[in-house]
């Protein structure tokens, strides 16, 4: 049986076109864009085209800084913002459900003397936009909220929050920066209809290469350099450009957004098919996250069609995962199997799930490559795995 890959929130299969391009770049167009000769000039042109492809997909008021991926983009967004704003305040506002790239960076900034407030979420993992507005203060320097949660697919209210931040700045003469980690959103939701200050994106989440991503930055922001050196990326992030990665990233972005709505609608249908299939076939299955699916940033409070997180009560996600992997079905869990509770997902904890519910959680994350036939197999195999586990568990 062929592999069924349902761990697309972790990483995705590269588009074949991207793989071919990356290979060709490494093999033939290996010039350094800083070199004066023709080979370097060609590499510079490819870089220019890739940047243009991505600029087309984002709001026109910003520039693209290529980075090594989502984590670096998040680090750059937070650390450089804080450095730029250090005379204006000491407070950072974020949520409890952010990716570790944001949470750990905030923790380190807290060690450096900044105060960080972590906003709570409701039982679907959603941050109340009014709570964010209410939490804004004059000494706040940055607000960082992810666009789509990686574990539950919850679409966060980044549009109203960014508006609220701008409004607050206008009323109070502050310059609070709004950053969103859009690693799980880019390639799935249109990102061009809002002018954010900072947006983090990672290539390998939308069938691009690993080790490449970008930070979108509002042109007026002018952050200090994050990596100093030869002055590449307009001086924001020095380092010889990863030209094969950047070319691949540009192409992957372009392909992802071709017929986006058709692809997302199809993914949404599969998501619904899988959810309904599992919930009808098995008792005691609960959805972690919003029920309704959303297809753009205005649909906040709904769920991105790429993610389906379910708790199978009375089971252990990791055992289900290893059972499914025997049939080459790849998913992920909300908890690592351990006699200690340290492995529990901080996102599911923030949503109020108890240890047992987190332990039984499985995340299915889809891509445009998945099919209905695959969902039928997954429903079948998951049902068998859950039933087998529960049978054993019933003796305890």
């Amino acid at each position: 049986m062929n592999m069924i890959y349902l761990d697309n929130s972790a990483t995705t299969r590269q588009y074949d076109e991207v793989t071919d391009l990356v290979y060709k770049m490494a093999k033939e167009n290996y010039g350094n864009p800083s070199s004066l000769h023709a080979l370097g000039f060609d590499a510079g042109n490819i870089l220019f085209d890739a940047r243009a492809a991505i600029e087309d997909l984002m709001h026109p008021g910003g520039e693209i800084i290529f980075t090594s991926g989502g984590t670096e983009s998040d680090n750059m967004a937070l650390v450089s913002s804080v450095r730029k704003m250090k005379r204006r305040g000491k407070r950072i506002l974020t949520t409890r459900v952010e990716h570790p790239a944001v949470l750990e960076t905030c923790r380190r900034l807290a060690d450096d003397g900044y105060s960080v407030d972590y906003l709570s979420v409701d039982s679907t993992g959603y941050v109340d936009p009014d709570a964010v507005s209410d939490a804004l203060t004059d000494d706040t320097i940055i607000v960082s909220i992810m666009t789509v949660n990686n574990e539950t697919g919850t679409i966060q209210p980044v549009l109203p929050v960014s508006r609220a931040v701008r409004e607050y700045n206008r009323m109070h003469g502050t310059k609070i920066i709004f950053h969103t980690d859009a690693v799980q959103a880019f390639g799935k939701l249109p990102m061009d209809d809002a002018s954010f200050d900072l947006v983090s994106v990672s290539g390998h989440k939308f069938h691009g290469p690993k080790g490449i991503g970008f930070l979108y930055m509002n042109k007026d922001l002018k952050l200090p350099a994050f990596i100093t050196g030869g002055g590449q990326e307009n001086g924001y992030r020095s380092s010889t450009e990863n030209t094969p990665g950047i070319a691949g990233l540009g192409l992957a972005a372009r392909i992802s957004y071709e017929n986006l709505f058709t692809k997302m609608s199809r993914m949404g249908e599969l998501n619904e098919y899988l959810r309904k299939g599992l919930i009808t076939e098995l008792p005691d299955v609960y959805l972690n996250g919003p029920e309704e699916l959303g297809y753009n940033l205005h649909d906040h409070g709904k769920r991105c069609p790429g993610v389906l997180n379910l708790t199978f009560k009375g089971t252990r996600g990791e055992v289900l995962l290893h059972t499914l992997e025997q049939d080459r079905i790849y998913v992920s869990t909300g908890s690592a199997c351990s006699s200690h509770k340290t492995g529990d997902s901080h996102v599911l904890q923030a949503m109020g799930l108890d240890h047992k519910a987190i332990e039984g959680a499985i995340r299915f994350s889809l891509s445009e490559f998945n099919t209905k036939e695959e969902m039928d197999i997954v429903i079948d195999k998951t049902k068998a795995a859950v039933t087998r586990f529960r049978k054993l568990g019933s003796f305890r």
Binding site: R316, V319, H322, T323, A336, C337, S339, L392, G393, R396
Partner: protein
């Protein structure tokens, strides 16, 4: 190519009587095997010492690291060879000392003379004094301190030549591998079993391993962790064969048919039975476990009686009377500790009873077990074994 000399001393092997040539031969084989990765390396016995010669291009630390890992080696010293002429010995000793001064900036020294060759005209204390005087004259910064020298230099005059050395890097001692039969270790991913295997191997026992898992109730990473542990052991004992058994079918039967609080013990009994079958098939004379009296419920005295009673083969438990902290220290010393504490578990907590029985009665356990077709389960498990050879 010029070669550097390393003097390798054996510990207990030297105390052997009639069997000494056998032990010496095996030890020589083991040392030769350990240094075969260096081109042109050689080893031979010279009057109770083993002389290892390795091209000077090989870093000293690499040679020492290989030699001290051979069981039966008590210590190793990098040495300088000199002709049996006291002036020549003094000159080479001073050169040797100068290098130490340049590298470490030492200030005081002492020379200890030894004369195994009684035909050498100068007596032991005199060798020390004369070589010391030459060093003092040639290395101006040094002074003698007989009580607490920074450097203690030994000059050993033997029949075939004179040898100057400073350090004695300790080995693990013990007896050469393979001089004491072959045993089968029940390997988990924990701290204890690798130490138990090491201790038996150090006494000369060749080791095979058996590992039990419950995939998909445990992960492949848990097994990888065990393979990594065995890989560390293989650094001491060469390629180790590991038999891998999936216990899940047995655990499922136990969970469905037997009292919960006896689960662990019943599983242990199956492990012992399966291990004995594998041992018999592979010529292993005894089983080895990392059990430690009273450490957990399945290792109480009563529990050990219950697990032991299913096998007739001797069961070695080298850690039985050690304290946990000492076992942990040993694990750090041999390099398995950091792997053992990785979080991947080799038994899913689903199969761990909440309140395991600590003082089991054999009769009761046997009664619980009568609900199972023990022989069929053991045979099926043995038949399903997977074999992995883990190289150093």
């Amino acid at each position: 190519m010029e070669k550097k000399l390393y003097i390798v001393r054996c510990g207990e092997v030297a105390l052997k009587g009639m069997n000494k040539p056998y032990f010496e031969r095996v030890l020589l084989e083991r040392v030769r095997k350990a240094i075969e990765c260096f081109d042109d390396a050689e080893a031979k016995w010279v009057e109770g010492l083993m002389f290892v010669r390795v091209p000077v291009s090989v870093p000293e630390d690499d040679v020492i690291a290989k030699c001290v890992r051979v069981f039966g080696v008590a210590s190793v010293s990098p040495a300088v060879e000199a002709p049996k002429d006291i002036d020549e010995i003094g000159r080479l000793a001073a050169e040797f000392m100068q290098k130490i001064i340049d590298e470490e900036g030492v200030q005081t020294f002492k020379v200890k003379g030894k004369r195994a060759d009684k035909s050498f005209a100068v007596q032991s204390p005199e060798i020390g004094r004369m070589v010391g005087a030459i060093i003092l004259k040639r290395c101006k910064v040094l002074s003698v301190n007989v009580h607490e020298p920074d450097v203690l230099l030994t000059v050993d005059v033997r029949r075939e030549g004179a040898y100057i050395f400073r350090d004695k890097i300790k080995g693990f001692g013990g007896l050469p591998l393979g001089t004491n039969g072959k045993g089968l270790i029940l390997m988990s991913g924990g701290i204890d079993s690798p130490v138990a295997a090491f201790m038996m191997a150090k006494r000369g026992m060749s080791i095979e391993a058996v590992h039990f898992h419950s995939y998909p109730y445990t992960s492949q990473r848990a097994q990888k962790k065990v393979e990594d542990l065995v890989h560390v052991l293989a650094g001491y004992m060469g390629t180790v064969r590991m038999h891998v058994i999936n216990l899940l079918p047995i655990q499922e039967q136990i969970v469905m048919n037997c009292p919960e609080d006896e689960t662990t013990l019943l599983v242990r009994r199956f492990m012992m039975r399966i291990a004995e079958q594998i041992a018999l098939k592979n010529g292993d004379m005894m089983l080895i476990t990392g059990e430690d009296l009273g450490q957990v419920a399945s290792q109480t005295a009563e529990a050990l009686v219950v697990t032991d009673s299913v096998v007739t083969m001797p069961v070695m438990r080298p850690l039985i009377a050690m304290d946990k902290v000492d076992i942990m220290d040993k694990a750090r010393e041999i390099g398995t500790y950091d792997i053992s504490i990785q979080p991947y578990e080799d038994c899913c907590t689903v199969f761990l009873p909440k309140h395991p029985v600590t003082k089991p009665k054999l009769a009761r356990i046997e009664k619980s077990e009568s609900a199972l077709d023990v022989k069929a389960l053991v045979d099926a498990a043995v038949a399903s074994e997977e074999i992995i050879d883990i190289r150093p």
